[in-house]
Amino acid sequence: MTIREPHGKAARHTDVTETLVAETVMGSIATERDAEDAVCALYSANYQSLVRLAAILVRDAATAEEVVQDAFVAMHGAWVRLRDTDKALSYLRQSVVNRSRSVLRHRAVVDKYAPKPAPDAPSAEQGAISLLERSAVIAALRALPARQREALVLRYYADLSEAQIAGAMGISRGAVKSHTARGMAALRTVLERES
């Protein structure tokens, strides 16, 4: 079966299978190229801020970088669904928050079952953590429940709106309000002391 080429001046006959295969291949190549371009663009624009956001959440710069890189890889894999830079950025934020949550959960389990080190031997991770916890506010933030901490960090560090925070955390806007208010109330005494 042959069809006429839609915009062909000459009456060249093209096989349907050939056309379909060519369209599929070109479509996948174009998608792949779009995904790589999006990775490059989003990396240059948002990588640093995302790493810092993850670093506040997981309290470790190296782990934060891994989390963000994983999020970029996942975004590249999901580009067929996204196909939009704005969607990709919100996907990245959500992925970073989710992966940071997973890291903290895993770390809690490891800390629970790991043998306790000697008191005078701080771990290598401790150096990176202490960098982030020089401030009493950050130390108090660490003591908050995970959801409250995430909401506060996304609100006051990433400057996201309530809707964006809700999307990144996978909760409703009302829950975002509630977490933010409770977190701020818990931090109030520390913030007063800081001033």
Binding site: S28, E32, V39, Y43, A55, V153
Partner: protein, 291 residues
Amino acid sequence: MTEPETEYGERLRRALRAAADGVVPSGDGLERIRSRIAHEPARDTFGLLLGWLRSLAADVRSSMPDIRSVLPALKSLLPLVKSVAAAIVPLISSLRAIITSVVVRLKSVVPERLRGSDGWLRPVLATAGAVVVALIVALVAIPGFRQGFYADFGGSGPDTSSTPPAGNHGTGGAVPGATGPSTPATSPSLGTSTAPASPCRAKSTPAAHLYTSSRPRTCPRASSSPAPTRAALTPTPTPTATASPSPSPSPSPTPSATPSPTPTSSAPATGGSSGTATQATTQSTATVKLQ
């Protein structure tokens, strides 16, 4: 938001910024992301289905001895099944008549809105059918579920014999047999994982972009999933295959015959590396001499 809250918010913002500004990401982040993308296995539906089918095939292959051991028992049960089936056939026909009458009565009793296209009868029947199908599929496909099912309802026969394939690498060839194949299985994967790094890296250039859709699939497939699993699976039958013929020359002692083949085959290669292997060889030769 009230005045003190905004003030607290500003303080919190300043503290967070001050803490986060100390974090400086490394410069090779994009390169790392690209290399991870290049080595990421293709997660399309076909690949997942293929992987599941592979694991299912490996599982069926490993549980083949169990099926073979059950077959004679099933054959002996065949006449009983035939007689039961002959007795059941009239029962089924009478059951069908009963069900038909019940359905007819239900149709007259149950209102139209319940049993129509929007009613509950069809969804309930469909759900029940789906549950049965899911149970059968889970029984066939998921080994843990099947083992649990056997343990609960089928006795200990299939459960105990199906545990060796799970611990195949440890039990099949004892210690030397298990460590032998595992090291080559890991080392080629490392070698191949480093080797395709250059073509995958090269795809960052614009000319190589055009064929990136096929390249990343070939890179991980060559390195990660199939090769180690095959390499890990195939050595385990070979010790059992070498073990099975050797009991035939020395048929009498069943417990000592099974450990003997592996040390005798591996003893020259290892050069007496393990003391247990040499002990086993001396014991086996002693038993042979005694016979």
